[in-house]
């Protein structure tokens, strides 16, 4: 069993009228079985309303399953006494950077989590120092969060989660409100944490460029998992991905169109480098490569 496992997970959003009667239910998650290995970097894709954020909130026990079970670090989220252990095991970073920073000084915000779980003062400082170092925000420790850029704020939020020493971080569209620079900053930080500290990362996103950096990609549609595999496996099925109202990375799309037009390219090209390499070898095989190189 991996660090996070769900079995037949179902979640209904229930809308109630004024008298608290059930008006209608919206099935956000519909029978999800997923098992996430410790140390993995998993990207969850899906268009709006596919249930990916709802799934993320189950991984931190912010939502309780309507049916089925979620285990986080082998603890059942439905049992109340597990609640705080679960939230310590799986930290969560949200979309809006302004709405998740509590402290009015960067270092105080990072210390908020450890304070809540009753870590002694001396150790809080050690953890805060280490977390700020890990996300590269040490230089801003005494700044007001209001004066930071979006990417920096998200890194502070990540540091705040790291200070609780989680085994897993769930990021719910952390880059949706950031500019390209900020996005890059955040993803690089997350990747480093995954590689260096062996933290399991679950990244909810709708940017394909972020998804291809993961070890595993899960595609959700209407509350169900519809695709699951390595980025290469998932993105080589261009038509299927598109049928779920998602894009494939631009390079993949170009390779796909060229292949359709008759160029002998393999499936699942994800990066520009790989694309150039494949294209060159196709040209060389055709014997036309030499002319192209002389140009």
């Amino acid at each position: 069993m991996g660090i996070i496992k769900t079995a037949k997970l179902v979640y209904d959003y229930i809308r109630r009228d004024e008298e608290n009667n059930m008006e209608e239910t919206d099935r956000a998650i519909d029978g999800v079985d997923v098992d996430i290995k410790e140390g993995d970097f998993v990207a969850v894709l899906g268009h709006n309303g596919s249930g990916k954020s709802t799934l993320a909130k189950h991984m931190n026990a912010l939502l309780m399953p309507t049916e089925g079970t979620v285990w986080i670090g082998e603890r059942d989220s439905k049992e109340e006494e597990n609640l705080w252990d679960i939230r310590q095991t799986a930290g969560m970073v949200f979309q809006n950077p302004d709405n998740q920073i509590i402290g009015s000084v960067v270092e105080e915000d990072v210390g908020f989590g450890p304070e809540n779980i009753g870590v002694p003062t001396g150790e809080i400082w050690q953890r805060v120092n280490a977390s700020l170092e890990a996300v590269g925000m040490t230089a801003y420790r005494s700044h007001s969060p209001n004066k930071l850029s979006g990417g920096q704020k998200q890194r502070v939020a990540i540091a705040g989660v790291m200070a609780m020493k989680p085994r897993c971080i769930v990021l719910d569209e952390p880059t949706a409100m950031l500019d390209p620079n900020g996005r890059h900053e955040v993803i690089r930080t997350v990747k480093e944490l995954n590689r260096q500290e062996n933290i399991t990362v679950i990244l909810i996103t709708h940017y394909m460029e972020e998804a291809i950096q993961a070890d595993r990609v899960i595609v959700m549609d209407r509350g169900k998992i519809v695709m699951d595999g390595t980025p290469k496996e998932v993105f080589s099925q261009v038509e299927t991905v598109k049928s779920y109202q998602l894009d494939v990375p631009q390079v993949t799309e170009l390779a796909y169109e060229l292949k359709k037009a008759g160029v002998k390219l393999p499936d699942g090209i994800l990066t520009i480098d790989a694309f150039v390499k494949e294209l060159m070898s196709v040209w060389k095989a055709d014997g036309s490569g030499k002319e192209a190189q002389h140009d």
Binding site: F94, S104, N116, N146
Partner: protein, 268 residues
């Protein structure tokens, strides 16, 4: 920029008073206010003035900053002076038409004005030298005993500090909404008072909705980070009295004793 605005009136310099524990300063303000009401006669006020002068000098806050704080109460000051001047019974000094100024009235008006000015200056010294967050921390710790009568001190302090953190964000948001509504033809500047008040509705409704949304998000983020109230919580920056604080408390005691004794013994 709105974002750079300092909240309250904290004056950021490095001084002995800035470094004191916020509880020491809170208590000091209380002692000072009490001393102003105990002081009687020139000598008592003279000592209060000297005390205030020492505090201002040590705090390195420019005097003109402190004087600015008196402006808003100028009207109140005038009001109290006039009333005390004309409505006090005693030995007549001057009288014209129905007005009568007495010796006691002059004395009372003068001391009342002095008391008010010292009061404002003294309490603003605390806000000049303490950040709002330190103040909240200090209040939380020194009012901790209220927990026993079931007042959730920690929760109130947490609310205060979150409110302080969100003020600049909400101000910025107000600015954004105002611009968006102006772009759609809303007019916030012209018209009668009634029209202006009505014009605020398209500003306040979206502002409140977004504030509620932020609150929901923040509550979820706090829960995700294991926040569950004040119980079992440790502090990253616990308040701790230093030697300086103890000395300052001694100083308070000396000051209070001096004011009481001299006001009672030296008649004036």
């Amino acid at each position: 920029m709105i974002r750079d605005m300092t909240l309250g009136q904290y004056y950021p310099v490095d001084s002995f008073i800035h470094k004191l524990d916020p509880r020491t300063k809170l208590f000091g303000t209380m002692v000072y206010i009490i001393s102003l009401f105990l002081a009687d006669g020139i000598v008592g006020y003279l000592i209060s003035a000297v005390f205030l002068a020492i505090v201002i000098r040590v705090s390195k806050v420019p005097f003109k900053f402190i004087v600015k704080g008196i402006k808003p109460i100028l009207f109140l000051l005038l009001f109290s002076v006039i009333f005390n001047l004309f409505l006090t019974d005693g030995d007549t000094l001057v009288s014209f038409w129905i007005f009568r100024i007495t010796k006691q009235g002059v004395r009372l008006a003068f001391f009342m004005a002095l008391r008010l000015v010292f009061l404002i200056m003294g309490s603003s010294m605390m806000t000049f030298t303490t950040t709002p967050n330190q103040l909240t921390d200090g209040l939380e710790k020194s009012l901790h005993f209220l927990n026993y009568i079931r007042i959730p001190v920690h929760e109130i302090a947490m609310m205060m500090s979150i409110a302080l953190r969100f003020i600049p964000i909400l101000i910025e948001e107000t600015d954004k909404i105002m611009k968006a509504q102006t772009a759609r033809g809303a007019d916030f500047e012209n018209g009668s008072l009634m029209q202006k008040a009505k014009g605020l509705v398209p500003l306040l409704v979206p502002l409140f909705i977004s504030a509620f949304r932020r609150a929901t998000d923040l509550a979820m983020a706090m829960e995700a980070r294991c926040y569950r109230g004040g119980e079992g919580r440790t502090k990253m920056k616990p308040l701790k009295y230093q030697r300086a604080d103890r000395l300052v408390y001694l100083f308070y005691a000396g000051y209070l004793a001096l004011v009481v004794v001299l006001s009672k013994t030296v008649p004036l």
